[in-house]
Symmetry: C2
Subunit: 393 residues, 2 copies
């Protein structure tokens, strides 16, 4: 009787990612850091760029007052100006600071967007495989998640998406570069998606929003293009963070942005600000808002992740693992050599290799490797990967 029914049920089906992350911590304590190959969570092993620490120190040395005070719920005006300018330079839309709300990470951004747009029982389409927290984010605001599968190469399956759209569809959530597959959706795919959503928005008499979760936007390989959804579809929201490209996931700093071309721009913007306040976030952390202000064009060295991807892909391919080579983010999503991915992940765990079952990422029959770890961890895990796949041959 201590908790609500929903929370009690949700505790039972707790996050695989977090479960493996905490398993990793206890195994490291027992076996030693270097003997556990922890690929469980997207917790970047690369330190933030030097500019980040320098700016924090400058801010603290500055004798200015009020560094840690409340500011407007949307965030500091100059930080929102900086984000608006940055986004304006990225594409064809002209952003104003009112199109931006600074948030408690991408999780905060997605929640304020969903809170703003969802009436009870509105449906939100989620493209699998995906970050499973979306399900909770939608449920937080009384929406109904509707999952659709992708093509075997993780590209959009328009037949499934079309079948999932109803009069109650309020949004489609996408994530590109994708967690867990590393897929980057092509311009062509996204344009087709936009046409489909526009057609049904008109038919429904209200917008079907596209909610684009983009924390990995800067982490792409081999020069692949990540098209701006703002230029492709009017009813676009972006939720993003500095967690991955500046390696700051614990600091909870990100933003929500709305397409300036959207109708009802003012009221939607006011809704985002209100939601940021009433969901209890109140505002994004003050010091971090000031820090990222001048870091919009900075990121960790993406080549480091590309090298890790290559070491991992070459290694696993040579052992007989099958996968689609990721174009971005820092996840690999190979096929499980046996149908039961939980069983396979558990066998890897016997070798102190911690991964996440695909069924915990909307992609059963696969498993997720978060390779934002040291090169040594990847290299030294290979014997365990070898031993495990051989068990199932």
């Amino acid at each position: 009787m201590g908790t609500s029914k929903k929370i009690r049920a949700a505790i039972g089906q707790s996050s695989w990612i977090r479960k493996m992350f905490e398993e990793g911590a206890s195994r490291k304590a027992i076996y030693g850091e270097e003997n556990v190959f922890d690929f469980s969570i997207g917790n970047p092993n690369i330190e933030p760029p030097a500019e980040f620490k320098n700016i924090l120190k400058e801010l603290l040395d500055d004798s200015g007052k009020g560094l840690h005070c409340y500011m407007p719920n949307a965030g500091y005006k100059d930080t929102r100006d900086a984000v608006a300018n940055y986004l304006t330079k990225q594409g064809e839309q002209i952003f104003s600071p009112d199109d931006i709300v600074m948030t408690v990470g991408s999780g905060g951004a997605l929640n304020i967007i969903l809170k703003t747009i969802l009436d009870p029982d509105d449906e939100v389409i989620i493209i699998m495989p995906c970050f499973m927290e979306y399900k909770f984010y939608i449920d937080n605001h009384q929406g109904i998640p509707k999952f659709v599968t992708s093509e075997p190469d993780f590209s959009l399956d328009f037949k499934s998406i079309t079948e999932a759209i109803t009069e109650k569809t309020r949004a489609v959530m996408i994530n590109s570069p994708n967690n867990p597959s590393g897929k980057v959706f092509s311009r062509e795919e996204l344009e087709s998606l936009a046409s489909l959503l526009m057609e049904h928005s008109e038919k429904n008499g209200r917008p079907i929003y596209l909610v684009s979760d983009e924390p990995y936007r800067k982490i792409v390989f081999d020069g692949v293009e990540v098209p701006s959804m703002f230029d492709i579809y009017k009813y676009t929201f972006v939720g993003t963070s500095f967690s991955k490209d500046l390696s700051l996931p614990g600091e909870r700093i990100g933003y929500a942005a709305l397409n300036p071309g959207m109708e009802d721009r003012e009221i939607v913007s006011a809704g985002l600000v209100l939601s940021n306040r009433i969901l209890g976030y109140v505002n994004a952390p003050a010091l971090m808002q000031r820090a990222v202000n001048s870091l919009l064009n900075v990121s960790i060295d993406v080549d480091i992740y590309q090298k890790k991807r290559d070491i991992l892909c070459d290694g696993l391919a040579s052992l007989g693992y099958e996968f689609i080579k990721p174009q971005g983010a820092f996840y690999l999503f190979p096929k499980s050599p046996v149908e039961d991915d939980v069983k396979f992940v558990s066998a890897l765990q016997d070798e102190n290799i911690l991964t996440v079952p695909g069924s915990g990422c909307g992609g059963p029959g696969h498993f997720r490797i978060a390779y934002c770890v040291s090169d040594e961890t990847i290299i030294n895990s290979m014997p365990g990967f070898k031993k495990t796949i051989e068990k199932f041959k």
Copy 2:
């Protein structure tokens, strides 16, 4: 059609506090900082204690890695240990780190507590006058807020509370020292409240929780006692922050704590952690968690606020304003000299004095003065307060 119906309605009845805060910012731009007497928001004008900046600098100078990474959703173990030890020393209960979840401020703490305990249509009793955001926090999790009035001196009105309790009552929210009245509930009152809630918990066959919002606990005057609710009532949650006692409201760092004596302690604790994750907070800001770790016994100099209270109370009393002298926090909640408090607040605004109508704080016929401003602001506002009360005589 851009937003949900609920958000559209809520934008219309937006927060008086935030409205006046933003009004203050624009008036300062027009009339000059020193000519606007901005008592709108609890944004402390006292800088954080020197220890805070020193610790942040030490953390940044430390070459340790992973300062900004993810940690368990509940927060760093050593920070939770520190909070547990601190709370254990404050009263008779023995806290473990599992009784603590580090949160995005008190707003985050209250939301994860409410998310954990509320089933749809569960009722939550709010004691007026109050911080009106509670209404939204409860609604976020499909609860029903039920407001009850207090005695004219802001002490608990047991008749109203008793009448408000039903089979659906899941929690009572209190805030002592109180925003907006500055009232500190006495041990006797709180013990009577505990008996009442225990009696009805037994009758209902499930706990009626007490959710105690305590960001002002350390800000009390004249040696008044703020009894620990943990020692008084088994089904107590505390939500609090370092926003006010360390002057860090923009940094969003606080915690939720549950009474170790509560039944279902483990599952309730797991519910809080899960809620922190799935509401999109994920975790409290990393650097701030490390900073507050060693600052649990530190606070700004409370005498400074006591002096401000005295200047303000003496000044307003001599002008004929009527009020209950606050025992804590940094708010004064005088009677409006006319019934229509919005009208009176608007007249004060004509003198560039920004306050909040009592109707925006569950206390119509009053107005709120947040006196966490410079002594000069208080002193220099007196002619405006004088002119305004004289208009209505």
